[in-house]
Symmetry: C2
Subunit: 376 residues, 2 copies
Amino acid sequence: MKPDSNDLASLRHKIDDLDRRLVELLAERGRVVAEVAEWKRAHDQPVYHPAREEDLISRRRAQGLGVGLDPDLVEDIFRRVMRDSRQTQGATLASHGVRPGARVLVVGGAGAMGSCLTRWFSEAGYRVAVLDRDDWGRVEPLCEGAELTILSVPIEATAAVAARLAPHLPARCVLADVTSIKSGPMAAMLAAHPGPVLGLHPMFGPTTTSLDKQIVVATPGRESAACQWLLDQLAAWGAVIVTANAADHDETMGFVQALRHFASFAFGQYLYRKGVDLHRTLDFSAPIYRLELGMVGRLFAQDPGLYAEIIFATPERRTLLREYIESVAENVRMIEAGDRDTFIAEFGRIAEWFGPFSDQAIRESSYLIDKLVERF
Amino acid sequence: MKPDSNDLASLRHKIDDLDRRLVELLAERGRVVAEVAEWKRAHDQPVYHPAREEDLISRRRAQGLGVGLDPDLVEDIFRRVMRDSRQTQGATLASHGVRPGARVLVVGGAGAMGSCLTRWFSEAGYRVAVLDRDDWGRVEPLCEGAELTILSVPIEATAAVAARLAPHLPARCVLADVTSIKSGPMAAMLAAHPGPVLGLHPMFGPTTTSLDKQIVVATPGRESAACQWLLDQLAAWGAVIVTANAADHDETMGFVQALRHFASFAFGQYLYRKGVDLHRTLDFSAPIYRLELGMVGRLFAQDPGLYAEIIFATPERRTLLREYIESVAENVRMIEAGDRDTFIAEFGRIAEWFGPFSDQAIRESSYLIDKLVERF
């Protein structure tokens, strides 16, 4: 071996040694964090302590700067470590439900979202029963003593299931659903059950491993005070609760879900019709295109039935999508004429309307593009 | 102070101590990495060594697992650390051009991309001159002795600038451009200059701080061997070079750039026309929607002229966009009829066509969504 490559080998050996010590320190940190979680559990303290996290980040950034490190590097690393801590502590706390021992009935518990709910409530110490489509013969014993019943069934089945189930529920049982449309299901639940009713729309799919910082929209139905413990439980798992009325929820979701999904569908559909060579386009692409194409590709890895439900849920949504198609089509003359001036003028109006959101979007997406470049 | 809070305080003190030692180790690692960079510079070795990085990641993952850490946590941290190393090493290497002292003329050097090129070549030890629109009076001295001339001017000006400039260039000068369309500019450069010609399309914007892992498409024009040092220089800065012929490049970019940007434009346009409350939709949104809306918002923070250039560049692109509009519009009957079966069948065909890309997209975008949740 030449002396020079030997130098490189010895430097690399030093790096490996430092990296081993880094991993050992991280493991030691993990053990101390587990002790903190134990302490918090014993004293009913919340897992997440934003002020302490920001303070820790600030001090480590300053230390990093002092020893010649990029403070952003230090911040990124500690944010990642603390996220892991939150999840570890969350896992410890999950076994500590806000109403442990209470009976919870998950209707549609064999489905993807139903399975998640069943697992989360079970791990938090609830007594969970599942009612799926073949279990109606046992509906009486399944409903007995239930303090919470959650409907996790397809949109079109929600009203019928609520009507069929409600007569068997205890009067004080909280009836909730997790349907992505709220007006219809809320009306059906309120009509069927005279007790506490709460609508939920978890803004995440069943592939989510943790509720940490996930959004759940809550639409109050009846007797909010009696439903509060369910929201507390979701919050204890780390979820962020956003309250709305059912009609506002449905209108906003038309844009957030139906329109966005349909636009991605139509984009993927055109690539398919043109037989575009996806791999070649990725060879040529900036990370931003990879990310944008990934948003479209992501759709097609998922359940078409779920997207059909979301897109075709209501007549209002279908009107929204028809208007979108018309709006896209109105550009055809500008395109055919190669009319740059019209494009630039329209672009300016839209940019002004987007306002500061655009700058924020640049900042966020640039951060993510860096992550994508770094990782893949 | 109660004994119990004292316990928490002492545990937190332990964590702070561990974190201080982590930062010290990172700083020590940084110093060794700087030594490696020195060695590489002295031996003309590339900065980025993918095999060594993957090997290091695998070993640290295994070690993490052995000591009870989540291997993904360990991987994320070391990828972030190595990215920092690459940038540090890249910064060291940038001062070591592959042809230091060579004269480089940047035409349009006052523009955003031109300024970047000027800075990068200057920092790498080249003698850089800039020719902007008011400098034609000094064209002779500016061109004298140039070994490389890069055109960084708007698409529609490229042909005229090449024709006007070429007679003043030394015969052996490499003439290159950075236009996002290649067929027309390549033909113009080849017609104007009898010497070496190379087309470049950097797949990133002028806001990019580093060339690390950025893609540059190269379309060879004439005398590839004489142009090779320019590609070597870009690679030395960390860029990934993808070679293509000009016609293939332009066709693929129709999809990668023109179609994608137009689709985002039309989506933002509809939100604007409907006066959607962006902030309310974000309140309700899963991170995936935030990310998708961010991709649209991002467009409108940028230069409309640049997008008009890309979208209206050629008649072929305008045809592509017209066909896209027609393809979107074909769905109107399905939407109006609420025809779920047609939607699900079409979705299935497209999903099959996307194939494994969809799963990869789920994996990549889920990773990014985690990053988004973690950071913002």
